[in-house]
């Protein structure tokens, strides 16, 4: 195969990987702060994807613009979920939290199945078949837009955590739970806020993802796993790590799909996860004692 085929596929993989990264960023924020294993992460993303699909089908609204209101809806969903359902569970053992979120995931997948049926749905934007050409490189326009939006969203999130008072307070909760309580932070509210922010990330990522893949109710569980693979590869609690992990996994999947067979691609993502867990359990960009 000529070299530029590899290059094209690799660039496509990196662009998709950035959207993966944004999705994983949501998980990383939740996991890193609230310390709850969000096993319904991919399912939350499929809610966002269906919102985008419905808005497009009914009003012809572009998912790239709709990602803002969709992220807002998911924020409210996440906030309500944390304060209503998950909060009593934060002191419970891991398997108990796991079961709670698995039950939630089962409900989400099947409600989507009842409403939308099992068939795949797509968003056919005007630019769905456009592409940019740069020398030997041909890049899908949709992927470029989605990746740019993902980077923009991630940058906003970085700024929020770095420069705002609320962002600082959330980081304080993550660093030292008792300390945060002692200095008078309303930890429960900050947790709900964090869960909302994580949900908003995955909401925005879901809206972008509709430009790249077809939507079915069954996508949820595989994206949940993918998000975990990315977060752990990149480093738990490290926001650049989540993006880097997403990029790496996107690239791996794309190249594995080309060199071997597309159906085997996630095997390589899992192989990377196993290697990372074994040789650098804190993740590529994670700190030692996370």
């Amino acid at each position: 195969m000529p070299f530029d085929v590899y290059l094209n596929v690799a660039v496509g993989g990196v662009l998709t990987g950035l959207v993966y990264g944004l999705m994983a960023l949501g998980l990383s924020v939740i996991f890193g702060v609230v310390r709850v294993v969000n096993f319904a992460h991919g399912e939350m993303m499929s809610i966002a994807m269906y919102l985008a699909v419905v808005l497009f089908a009914a009003f012809h609204l572009d998912p790239l613009i709709m990602m803002v209101p969709i992220a807002a809806v998911l924020f409210v969903f996440g906030y309500a979920l944390q304060s209503g359902l998950i909060n009593p569970f934060i002191t419970r053992p891991e398997h108990s939290q796991f079961l709670l979120l698995v039950a939630l995931a089962i409900v989400i997948v099947n409600v989507l199945l009842i409403i939308f049926g099992p068939d795949a749905r797509t968003v056919q934007t005007a630019y769905a078949y456009d592409s940019y050409q740069l020398g030997p490189l041909i890049v899908d326009a949709a992927k470029v837009y989605a990746a740019t939006a993902a980077l923009l969203f991630a940058a906003l999130l970085f700024a929020f955590f770095r420069f705002t008072l609320v962002g600082k307070a959330i980081r304080a909760c993550a660093d030292n739970y008792t300390g945060a309580l002692v200095v008078g932070l309303n930890v429960n509210r900050l947790y709900a806020l964090t869960f909302g922010i994580g949900a908003a990330c995955v909401g925005a990522a879901g809206a972008m993802m509709t430009l790249i893949v077809d939507v079915t109710p069954m996508l949820g569980p595989s994206y949940t796993l993918l998000a975990f693979v990315i977060v752990i590869t990149g480093g738990l609690g490290s926001m650049p790590g989540a993006l880097l992990g997403g990029l790496l996994i996107g690239l791996t999947e794309a190249l594995a799909g080309l060199i071997f067979t597309p159906s085997a691609k996630s095997m390589f993502a899992f192989a990377i996860l196993v290697l990372v867990l074994l040789f650098r359990p804190q993740g590529l960009l994670g700190r030692k004692a996370a």
Partner: protein, 337 residues
């Protein structure tokens, strides 16, 4: 033998023993009383009770959360089915081949994880990763027909062949009932043994256990290996009962989740929890199913939604699971829990 019985019944209150005996007796005569459909439901229940009990050794006793038990089911199923279809080797011999492979697989996962200090959520995700790796790997393994699936010649219903596990559902029912009873007794023996106390110590506080001189690495490794070996028989049973195998099904993460729901609902770390949980969950799912059919509702997914909502309710209301709560109600406290 007398010593063994002595040991099995030592501290357990007489009432617990009577309850267990009544349950077993009821299950033994069940096929004469209930119809074929209910026998199949009971097989599913006992299958989940069996696998739940095996998982419980790792999580409930030694405190290691595995979310990838499907890998041991899948290995057991594929090895036995492959030997049967290719070489005509019977399932019991197949099990003897599958058991060490599953245990070795558990040992590899455990060795890697425990050596490198992978614990808690990370360990759980490592187990998922291995199971998913196996699923996709078997999906591309041509020697077992890859994604097209492996099929066993369909059972002859004219006579029951216990040695080759070909026969009617009642035979399979008694096989899985016997297996469940055996693994229950085994778990009871294990939890009263030296290593059982080591496991409980590790579960409660690993640092303290190590400080007290427990070889935690070795004990955790044994827990994974024993759990894996026991689970592999469930795979053999699965293969011969359903007669078809797809990597997409046996190795699927939903298989792993199915396995752990019972013990968590019933009560992690208890001996009766996995059995009770399997009854409650399957009973719930089946009665929902028939209720929906009776109402004439044909909504694919509605059953699962209800199931999920019930799960949410049970986890929120009974954090320790149903059995500890029920045991207190019946006045039979279980000590090992």
């Amino acid at each position: 033998m007398a010593a063994l019985i002595e040991r099995l019944t030592d501290d357990g209150s007489r009432r617990t023993m009577i309850w267990a005996a009544v349950l077993v007796a009821a299950l033994v005569i069940a096929p004469w009383v209930v119809n074929d459909y209910l026998v199949t439901v009971l097989i599913v229940i006992l299958y989940l009770a069996y696998t739940g009990q095996a998982w419980n050794i790792m999580m409930g006793f030694a405190g290691q959360l595995s979310l990838g038990h499907a890998i041991y089911v899948g290995l057991g199923a594929y090895i036995a089915a492959f030997l049967f279809t290719r070489f005509g080797v019977g399932p019991w011999v197949g099990f003897l081949a599958a058991m060490p492979v599953a245990a070795a697989c558990g040992a590899i996962i455990g060795f890697l994880a425990f050596r490198f200090g992978v614990t808690g959520v990370y360990f759980a995700i490592l187990t998922i990763a291995f199971a998913e790796f196996a699923r996709i790997g078997f999906d591309h393994l041509d020697i077992v027909n890859a994604a097209a699936g492996l099929f066993l010649p369909v059972a002859q219903y004219s006579h029951n062949d216990l040695w080759r596990l070909r026969g009617d559902p009642t035979m399979f029912y008694y096989v899985i009932l016997a297996a469940t009873v055996v693994v229950f007794i085994l778990c009871r023996v294990l939890i009263r043994s030296r290593i059982g106390y080591f496991w409980l110590a590790i579960r409660e506080d690993e640092e303290a256990a190590r400080a007290a001189g427990v070889d935690t690495f070795r004990c955790k490794l044994y827990a994974v290996m024993i759990s894996a070996a026991i689970t592999s028989f469930a795979g053999v049973f699965y293969a011969f009962f359903y007669n078809n195998l797809f990597p997409e099904q046996v190795f699927n993460i939903s298989q792993s989740i199915q396995i752990i729901l019972g013990p968590i609902i019933g009560g992690v770390g208890t001996l009766f929890g996995p059995i009770l949980g399997a009854f409650v969950l399957t009973g719930l799912a089946e009665s929902l199913n028939s209720a929906l059919t009776a109402l004439g509702l044909d909504l694919p997914g509605a059953e699962q939604v209800f199931y999920g909502v019930c799960l949410l309710f049970v986890v929120a209301a009974l954090p320790e699971g149903i059995w500890p709560w029920l045991a207190r109600r019946l006045g039979i406290a279980e000590r090992a829990g």
